[in-house]
């Protein structure tokens, strides 16, 4: 089973097509749980708004990338709206890229 770090590195390759910052540095990933016995990973995330056009595309992309790049059998990505995402969750790297410092 991959370490959390490896999963984060894969998630950092995923983007909302409209935003030039990956979903991890955008602060969309709330939690990553690894369960070794069942060879499964659960990612809890949110989106920048409930009307986000990539609402299905981004979670699907994350699931596919973790499955294929890290050879994980069961990947579950769930989107939550509580707590709501806010720009405060953007990482310093993300803020720098967006000129939000």
């Amino acid at each position: 089973m991959p370490a959390k770090e490896a999963i984060i590195n894969v998630v950092k390759k995923c983007y909302d097509p409209e935003i030039p910052v990956n979903v991890y540095d955008l602060g969309l990933i709330y939690n990553i749980e690894i369960d070794e016995p069942s060879d499964s990973v659960k990612v809890t995330m949110s989106l920048t708004s409930q009307g986000c056009p990539s609402a299905q595309q981004i979670p699907d992309q994350i699931k596919e990338m973790i499955e294929s790049e890290l050879n994980v059998k069961n990947v579950n990505v769930s989107v939550v709206w509580d707590p709501p995402w806010s720009p405060e969750r953007i990482t310093p790297e993300g803020k720098k890229k967006l000129g939000l410092e």
């Binding site: 409209e18 935003i19 920048t48 720009p87 000129g99 939000l100």
Partner: protein, 238 residues
């Protein structure tokens, strides 16, 4: 900004309310001749140009607004809308992305300012005696009342007076004047936010909720992020 520029702007708003679009446009064009970077006039004129089909001129106004106010969310929101009308989808999406980026920037700044205010309030020593404080409040009330008398259709006078009453903890008067504010301009979202605050302090829970709900709709339509977030946060706590 001179009084005459402000007056021209107010005349334009009145003309617009009376559905005299050509007259409103003329007043705004005059205002911009006197002050070419007056943001409110640039935005309003751009919107009016678009409304009458003068799309190229509308785009130019919003570009000027973006230059005059680099943090203007509405400049980019409107540019996105206008580019969509022209069928320029890539350009529209780029402007929409910029509007979103600026709205996040505004939200982060608002949170930072709020934290600074909270810290300041906890640690700042009192700078004025109670008597001086009262005199200050009275001066602010008089200034705001003069603004209302000068132009009874300017929502800002009512909003400013409401803010003073809130600061002075005169909540009943705040409620009264802020209700007048949203009668004068039902689309002024900051007035809903302040009215909700005043109603909360008066213990009017149901009316507070209704005010925030209406205010949230108004702020959402207009893209007024800061009052929107403030009202959403207060409504949740209710």
């Amino acid at each position: 900004m001179s009084n005459s520029v402000h007056q021209l702007y107010q005349q334009a708003m009145l003309a617009f309310c009376e559905k005299q679009t050509a007259q409103a446009i003329a007043h705004l064009e005059q205002a911009l001749q006197l002050d070419p970077s007056y943001p409110d006039a640039l935005e309003s004129l751009g919107v009016l140009y678009a409304n009458v089909g003068r799309l190229e001129e509308a785009i130019q106004m919003m570009k000027r607004l973006a230059q005059a106010d680099p943090d203007s969310i509405m400049a980019h929101t409107n540019l996105s809308r206008f580019y969509q009308q022209k069928g320029w989808i890539d350009e529209a999406e780029a402007e929409q992305a910029e509007a979103r980026r600026l709205s996040w920037k505004a939200e982060l700044k608002s949170k930072k300012d709020q934290t600074a205010d909270d810290v300041g309030a906890r640690h700042a020593p009192p700078l004025r005696s109670p008597e001086e404080e009262l005199r200050q409040i009275e001066r602010r009330i008089q200034t705001a009342q003069k603004a209302i008398a000068f132009d009874p259709k300017d929502v800002l006078g009512y909003f400013s007076l409401g803010a003073v009453y809130l600061d002075a903890k005169r909540y009943i008067e705040a409620v009264d004047i802020l209700k007048q504010a949203i009668t004068v301009d039902p689309k002024h979202s900051p007035s809903y936010a302040s009215l909700g605050q005043a109603l909360e302090m008066c213990g009017q829970k149901e009316e507070t909720k209704e005010t925030y709900e209406t205010g949230i709709k108004v702020a959402t339509e207009k893209g007024d992020i800061i009052p929107l977030k403030r009202m959403e946060s207060r409504l949740k706590k209710l």
